[in-house]
Symmetry: C2
Subunit: 214 residues, 2 copies
Amino acid sequence: MAKRNTRELVLQTSLALFNELGEPNVSTNRIADEANISPGNLYYHFRNKQDIVVELFTRFATQLDRIIAVPVSAALRAEDLWFQLHLSFELKGQYRFLFRNPIDISSRVPSLRRAFMGLFRRERKAAEDMISSLEQSGAMCISSREKEILLNNLMLAMTYWIPFAEMYEEHGLQDGNVQIKSIAGALQMIIPYMAEDARAELTNLAIFYLSHPN
Amino acid sequence: MAKRNTRELVLQTSLALFNELGEPNVSTNRIADEANISPGNLYYHFRNKQDIVVELFTRFATQLDRIIAVPVSAALRAEDLWFQLHLSFELKGQYRFLFRNPIDISSRVPSLRRAFMGLFRRERKAAEDMISSLEQSGAMCISSREKEILLNNLMLAMTYWIPFAEMYEEHGLQDGNVQIKSIAGALQMIIPYMAEDARAELTNLAIFYLSHPN
DNA sequence: GTCTATATCTAGATAGAC
DNA sequence: GTCTATCTAGATATAGAC
């Protein structure tokens, strides 16, 4: 098999196993076994297990950056807000092993700590810009003290909705409705600060998606 | 040394190390070393490492149950709300290793999964009762759909504020202000649904504590 | 590129003397 | 109750043949 293919196979197998069992519970032997290659072969393509994790993180970060980099339009609508959250939640679900315990995974793969921090900082900045845009268009009204706390709460929800949901839902994120519920949760934090009609629009959107699970 | 004392020493040493380094990163040898006893001695007092974790969890759960079991008075005031949150956040800080990754720790110590679930269920029930009490006294107004999502958001915040804070604050929970900020975050989720004066009371309380770090 | 075989290390846990 | 010595298992990673 060509170099690229085996490398890719290892990455995909690792991602699946990490998501299912948790990265610390998956050995390189297990990955090789599941991919039907030898442990030695795996180590021909990757220096070590960390390399695999880092590569997966990099792919995730690249895609998330693309999602949050969407320029904030002057006329930000409820659908836009929902849509961007949906894209980022979807992506995080695909790399959910990263979110079970970011601290622990960072401590085992040192280079990841800075990467995580940077990513979170950019995500927070994107949320901040979005709120500013809503304020300027008159769709939102919030004090700067409240905004600070709201951003914290949003980041908390956007980071930890995955392990939170996995703890309660027996089938974890397989149930598509879990994501919808988590998005609705994040949006409910924002809604109280929105103006009358923008608020109604968002609320209706949430109700619609909650009652139409894919 | 008497049996009780060594057992207790192991528990306290384990708790300190688990909190500092994360339970998966602390070996029984390390615990014995730190406690100045032999590995063999540790295994005389505990069947295995899981036993230590379970014992620590049990102590935590007992204390948390006591805190949330406080009967909800008819005239629930802002201070009461703040005080109960403060007690539970304080306790969770003392056993923070349990919250870094509840799922992972449950998967390594099977009996813990049900225990965690039960505890979270009781905690959610307590929050629900508190909200009901606020509604009945007229201090709060919220639809049943909103209430469901609010309870989710509160549980998310009350469960994961610890790893969230540890990720951002360099000194982790040593900084007393981190707890205050987390409590303020949880309360800000509730405030929008409160009546005018109750809302003002809570907001002022939060501002007071935030500007007076212990 | 891929395999088999193996080296190395660490963690959990036990045996048996004192 | 406590210690020293040791066993076992499993994980990461490497060596060298094909």
